[in-house]
């Protein structure tokens, strides 16, 4: 407990006590602030626009279907191989540029957003859904085509402005 050279022992003790008092004053003043805690299941915060919840493939209201062309760029860029695409086929058996199944594995997804960024057709969006627990591992693999997700709210507006070229790229 070497005091700084400019202080004598008495000064250093007094300044030490003063600084202890200062610390106590600060914690006391904090005690009278309103808690900033959000009581989670009952109260919820408004999530930011770019919040990365689970992946969805929203229905484009103008097309009435998803914007996906089954180009599998997302499959190739995914670091964990969390995405599998099965191409749709026409009546003659020739593959169509549209997915029959879009299998998204929540268990391995790390929410890196690379699939969303690489998609040239803005078919993918990271949604606000974040309560993703399941009781069965099979429940972690979702088919994004059959679920026919509809985006709502601010995120929908943002997404539509993006694929209309009104929003700068992230």
């Amino acid at each position: 407990m070497e005091a700084p050279a400019r202080y004598g022992p008495l000064r250093s003790v007094l300044s030490g006590i003063a600084s202890l008092g200062k610390g106590l004053w600060i914690t006391l003043s904090y005690m009278f602030r309103a808690p900033i805690t959000v009581q989670y299941p009952e109260q919820r915060v408004v999530l930011p626009l770019r919040f990365r919840g689970r992946l969805v493939m929203p229905i484009d209201p103008e097309k009435g279907s998803t914007r996906c062309t089954a180009c599998v760029r997302c499959v190739r860029i995914c670091p964990n191989h969390s995405i599998d695409v099965v191409k749709d086929t026409g009546p003659d058996g020739a593959p169509l540029s549209k997915p029959a199944k879009y299998l998204y594995n929540l268990g391995t997804c790390m929410f890196c957003n690379l699939c969303v960024e690489v998609c040239p057709f803005f078919a993918l969006v990271m949604s606000d859904e974040h309560e993703l627990a399941t009781t069965d591992r099979k429940g972690l693999v979702l088919d994004l085509v059959t679920e026919k997700h509809h985006l709502t709210g601010k995120k929908a507006v943002w997404w539509q402005r993006k694929f209309r070229g009104l929003e700068p790229e992230d």
Partner: protein
């Protein structure tokens, strides 16, 4: 009935003495030896103290969590029961049904006895604690000496726990605790001595009665601060929690303890916190004396006020380094306590 209720709260000593003599008389009328009745009465005190000790510890843990939360702008426990009051009860229930783990390399007997040793020394302090007028199991005429002597006993349990765990963290925690408690006992004793000088008695009841209405805190401001600091260090809390120092020693002497034995240590720790507050209130804040409210209410209010001060300090200051801790005791607190004692002694003699 109003008279009985008034007596129950304000003249507890008269009521208790009346009951005690009546019981003794009817006991003697049957020709039974009075030793057995005395034993039974003491057992009643012990049970009352045990119940109080448990409920009090449950409350203080909740209280500390709430205060800590408010200091960190949080809410603290608020799910179990109103305002989260039953949270500690739920935690205790969980701890009691946990597996009782004793490490293979541990000294089994000592390992098992250590939590009890700590708790017993804490429990024994309730013998001299005056909760209200006459509400004290035994107002010994060496009450102050008893308090200091028994209070220092807990170090044996902590050291035993640290040693018996056969774990280097536990051992270091136990050793640190021993060094710390022994070092801080000295300034604590010297400060308490100046209170004894002022009151002219070692009996806690007399010390309470000898205090002016505002308590000894105004006559002994330095003494009060020294006592708070020293007793805070003796109960291994606040900025002096080196024996448990999580960041260095995992949990110190508690490392190998789990379940019920851990709960016992925790019970002893929080009861010690209350006892520090209670003895500070008794020695410096006028104990159970105060206007209007019943003595017990005053005593509890003052004790919990000091407990609040200690909690506030704990959640404000960072932990001291080991050598700083020793220097604070021997180089700062001890000279201050000696000077305080000297000045008090001279003033008591002169005035």
């Amino acid at each position: 009935m109003g008279g009985f209720l008034y007596d129950l709260f304000y003249n507890t000593d008269r009521l208790l003495n009346g009951w005690s003599t009546a019981a003794h008389q009817s006991w003697a009328a049957r020709g039974w030896p009075p030793v057995i009745l005395d034993g039974l009465l003491q057992l009643a005190w012990a049970v009352a103290a045990g119940v109080f000790l448990t409920v009090n510890a449950l409350f203080i843990i909740w209280f500390e969590r709430k205060v800590a939360a408010r200091i960190q702008i949080r809410r603290g426990p608020n799910r179990v029961g109103p305002w989260g009051l039953l949270q500690t009860l739920a935690d205790t229930g969980k701890m009691l049904i946990k597996e009782d783990i004793v490490p293979d390399a541990a000294d089994r007997a000592v390992f098992r006895a250590a939590p009890l040793l700590v708790l017993v020394s804490t429990f024994m302090l309730f013998v001299v604690l005056p909760f209200g007028k006459g509400l004290v199991p035994a107002d010994l005429n060496v009450g102050l000496v008893y308090f200091l002597a028994i209070g220092g006993l807990s170090v044996i349990g902590i050291l035993a726990g640290g040693w018996a765990s056969n774990n280097k963290y536990s051992l270091m925690g136990g050793m640190r605790s021993a060094a710390q408690i022994v070092s801080y006992e000295v300034p604590a004793v010297l400060t308490v001595l100046s209170v004894a000088l002022l009151a002219g008695s070692l009996k806690l009841g007399d010390i309470v009665r000898a205090q002016p209405a505002y308590g000894y805190v105004l006559l002994q401001p330095i003494g009060f601060l020294l006592f708070l600091t020293a007793s805070n260090a003796e109960i291994n809390r606040g900025p002096f929690d080196l024996p448990e120092a999580d960041s260095e020693l995992v949990s110190g002497f508690l490392t190998e303890y789990s379940g019920m034995r851990f709960a016992f240590f925790l019970l002893a720790e929080y009861t010690n916190l209350f006892l520090s507050g209670a003895f500070a209130a008794t020695l410096f804040l006028g104990g159970w004396r105060g206007p209007l409210l019943p003595p017990v209410a005053w005593f509890l209010l003052k004790s919990y006020f000091v407990v609040f001060l200690l909690i506030w300090v704990r959640w404000t200051f960072p932990r001291l380094r080991v050598d700083h801790l020793m220097e604070l005791s021997w180089k700062v607190l001890l000279p201050l306590a000696l000077a305080n004692l000297l000045v008090t002694a001279v003033l008591v003699k002169v005035l």
